[in-house]
């Protein structure tokens, strides 16, 4: 067992739990950022440096800011949900279902022979360069499709957000 792994995991779980339970949405967002950072840390641990960097750039740099904007556009600036409960009527049902699913998952993981599997071997350095090469050779078509998807999402998001404005 590795101390770094445990610590990082604990922080992440905490961040995740806070992100789904806190009432103030801005606070939730902060907890979510912590969670994202944890994931990035795990990526670094797993020798996936490039992904880690991408995680920080995309999630913290873009998604979190986007969510912040959404919060500010839909609520007053503090982002609290007023006097009403932040949880829906059947919250206990949700919690119960999620935790039983988690339980089942853990059970299955334990039953699997993969449980004790150790890393495949020394992962060579310079993976980033390799990824770059692969992206423009073997993976160039998915990359292009992804580019189209992103463009479409960009335009789509703008159109959806603008639509109501136009009708008025």
């Amino acid at each position: 067992m590795n101390i770094v792994f445990l610590t990082l995991s604990a922080i992440m779980v905490l961040g995740a739990v806070l992100a789904v339970t806190l009432r103030n949405l801005v606070h939730c967002l902060l907890a979510l950022v912590v969670f994202f950072l944890g994931i990035a840390g795990h990526f670094f641990l797993l020798k996936a440096d490039f992904l880690g960097a991408a995680q920080i750039l995309i999630y913290i740099g873009a998604v979190a800011v986007l969510i912040l904007f959404a919060i500010m556009l839909t609520r007053n600036i503090s982002g609290t949900e007023g006097g009403r409960s932040s949880l829906g009527g059947a919250w206990w049902l949700g919690v119960g279902l999620a935790s039983s699913l988690a339980g089942m998952m853990c059970v299955f993981v334990r039953r699997s022979e993969l449980v004790t599997k150790l890393p495949y071997g020394a992962t060579e350095e310079g993976v980033v360069k390799e990824i770059g090469k692969l992206l423009v050779t073997d993976w160039v078509v998915p990359l292009e499709i992804m580019a189209v998807l992103l463009t479409a999402a960009l335009i789509g998001a703008v159109v959806i957000a603008l639509e109501e404005e136009k009708k008025r």
Partner: protein, 659 residues
């Protein structure tokens, strides 16, 4: 001659090009149009003259042919070809020459018609088709041109299409000749089957060169093959050359402008039939002799003879100047046919040539009269034109004397030969023909006196002489109407036919002159001594003959007879088959359809309505109720769905775990 024949195609081609060019000319280009036409026709005339001169030097009946492939089919090929022999050369020269002067006259006659260019287009096409027919060395090509001649006559007769009578006449002309053409067509089919070729002369393999062989084969109705083919071909000639009983179209064809009448009745269309019989003469005579002529020859003789007399009687009773001439044409064509049927190829062809000149002269002259009298055609409303139109009068007189067979005019010589050759064959035919000649002289005299003698009966507008471009052609033609007759002997020599010594020459000639003189005398007695004073005055002949005259005037009621029988039967047949289609065939169809519909109705009521529909309705109701119940599950709350999803996942995992 062998080089000349290769240029024969140019003779019809030039007018054809002229026609093609003019079909695209605008209406206003009158001068250009007439210029092109006259140039083309003149050039054709020069070419024809060259060909004629080329044939002159040869004493034997020589001919040059030039065949070419039109298309291949099966393992063989279809050829067309051109010919140059004396008959062709003379005919082509006549057609181009007379045609040229008719064209000149037409520039005057049609000068104020709005479709002037169109007229010259049709006229050129007409000439082209006729010349093509003359120079063809192939029966198919001859037939094609033959049909085109029919087309042009259709177009020209109906040139004033807005007149209902013209619209009907054009149709009548085409259909009547088409009936004859079917016979011709069958003859061609038979010939191409039996002879294996349609080339007339082909170095020994031509259809005409096989006439002897064909005469030995058995054809239809117990005739020899050659006779069968000849009879079929002659049916075509009957249509084209207006022989009884297919003559009815010709008088109606007078609905066309007068130059057209001249062209149709003198130089081209009607001549085509006689020319064709002459061209195919070998088939007609094959297998027969002077004592025992073939059926085809007999048919030609008697049809011609009957038509000559029949039409002459009708001509006597006409008041329309052009109609009288038209029946006279019919009659003269009968003479030609009769001569051919009697075995006289040369007299028949020679009469065709001389007749072309003086009949063209007469028609163009009548055109001048019509123009001079401001489009009056009824002879009763004319009179005294000699004073007003002297040039026309003198020319017309020459034409009339030629037609009446007065020596020394052209008609005398040719008609005399016709009668002479008929005399050899059949005294009865000769007698009838002589009577027809008498009638000819009579009705022409009648016409002369009614039109030119006495005083003007036509009303306020005084007649006037026509312009030079109208009288010049008739003046030129009248020179030939006088002089051409003297070349009869030369023509026989030229054609290279050596006919045996004919007996009874002086008798026939004397009688012929006598009946001509008698006819003219009778005409003078009835019409010349005391000319008509008023247009309404009854015809002296009408007074004498009474009902018979009406009968003549109404053309022996042949048209009425056809209307009541053939045309009516055809229309009824058409109506019958139309109704048959609509009632019987469609009735059966509808019956099937109704039956199918009925069966389906029964199936619907018995089966569908109670069994299937009942069950179906119940099923539908069930589905609807279920749907309504299940719809309640759709809360629209997304988290609710997600919960169910989640639950499902958990349950699946549990099941899997327990397994």
């Amino acid at each position: 001659m062998n080089e000349l024949v290769k240029q024969q195609w140019l003779i019809p081609f030039l007018p054809l090009v002229a026609a093609a060019v003019q079909s695209l000319l605008p209406r206003k280009a009158r001068k250009l149009s007439a210029g092109i036409c006259l140039t083309a026709m003149g050039a054709s005339c020069v070419l024809a003259l060259r060909a004629f001169v080329g044939t002159l030097g040869h004493h034997e009946a020589e001919r040059a042919v030039w065949n070419f492939v039109w298309f291949d089919y099966g393992t063989t090929r279809l050829q067309l070809g051109f010919i140059l022999d004396p008959m062709t050369a003379a005919m082509a020269l006549m057609v181009t020459f007379v045609g040229f002067w008719i064209f000149v006259n037409a520039t005057g006659y049609m000068s104020d018609d709005e479709n002037f260019t169109r007229f010259f287009c049709f006229l050129s096409l007409f000439a082209a088709a006729m010349l093509g027919l003359v120079v063809a060395n192939n029966l198919l090509m001859l037939f094609m041109c033959w049909e085109l001649v029919g087309l042009c006559s259709y177009l020209l007769i109906g040139f004033w299409y807005f007149k209902p009578s013209a619209a009907t006449a054009m149709k009548k002309a085409f259909i009547t000749t088409r009936i004859g053409d079917v016979g011709f067509f069958l003859g061609i089919l038979m010939l191409s089957w039996q002879a294996g070729t349609l080339n007339l002369y082909d170095g020994g393999n031509g259809a005409l060169e096989q006439a002897g062989k064909l005469a030995g084969l058995h054809g239809w109705f117990g005739w020899s093959m050659a006779t069968t083919i000849a009879v079929l071909l002659f049916i075509g000639a009957m249509g084209k050359s207006a022989q009884f009983p297919l003559h009815v179209w010709l008088p109606d064809a007078m609905e066309g402008p007068t130059p057209v009448s001249a062209l149709i009745h003198a130089a081209t269309m009607v001549a085509a039939g006689v020319f064709m019989v002459g061209r195919m003469f070998a088939l007609f005579t094959a297998g027969g002799s002077a004592e025992h002529p073939t059926f085809a020859m007999d048919m030609v003789l008697w049809v011609g003879c009957f038509t000559a007399l029949f039409s002459a009687t009708i001509a006597v009773g006409q008041f329309d100047i052009k109609r009288a001439l038209a029946y006279s044409t019919c009659s003269q064509l009968g003479f030609m046919m009769m001569a051919l049927g009697a075995g006289g190829l040369v007299p028949g062809q020679f009469h065709l040539l001389t007749h072309a000149f003086f009949k063209a002269l007469l028609f163009l002259g009548s055109g001048c009269v019509i123009i001079g009298t401001h489009h009056e055609q009824d002879m009763r409303k004319m009179g005294g034109l000699r004073k007003y139109m002297p040039i026309t009068f003198w020319c017309y007189l020459i034409g009339m004397l030629a037609l009446a067979g007065v020596p020394p005019f052209a008609g005398f010589f040719s008609k005399d030969e016709v009668l002479l050759v008929t005399f050899q064959r059949s005294k009865v035919a000769w007698g009838l023909a002589t009577f027809a000649a008498f009638l000819t002289a009579f009705y022409m005299t009648r016409q002369m006196f009614m039109v030119f003698a006495g005083k003007w009966r036509g009303g306020h507008h005084e007649p006037h002489e026509v312009r030079w471009n109208m009288w010049l052609p008739i003046a030129v033609l009248s020179v030939f109407a006088i002089g051409l007759g003297f070349f009869g002997g030369k023509y026989e020599h030229y054609l290279g036919v050596h006919e045996e010594e004919l007996h009874g020459k002086s008798l026939v000639m004397g009688l012929s002159v006598a009946v001509g003189a008698a006819g003219i005398l009778l005409g003078w007695l009835m019409y010349g001594r005391k000319t008509m004073a008023h247009a309404e005055e009854p015809d002296p002949l009408e007074v004498k003959l009474g009902a018979l005259f009406t009968c003549l005037n109404r053309k022996w009621y042949v048209d009425e007879f056809y209307d009541a029988t053939i045309i009516r039967a055809t229309m009824l047949l058409g109506e019958f088959w139309r109704v048959f289609d609509n009632r019987v065939i469609d009735g059966i169809l509808h019956g099937i359809a109704w039956t199918a519909w009925g069966v389906s109705q029964v199936v619907r009521w018995v089966g569908d309505e109670f069994v299937i529909n009942g069950g179906f309705d119940a099923g539908c109701e069930g589905v609807r109720l279920t749907g309504r119940e299940f719809a309640k599950l759709q809360t629209g709350r997304i988290q609710g769905y997600l919960r169910i999803l989640c639950l499902g996942a958990v349950i699946l995992l549990v099941i899997w775990y327990l397994k």
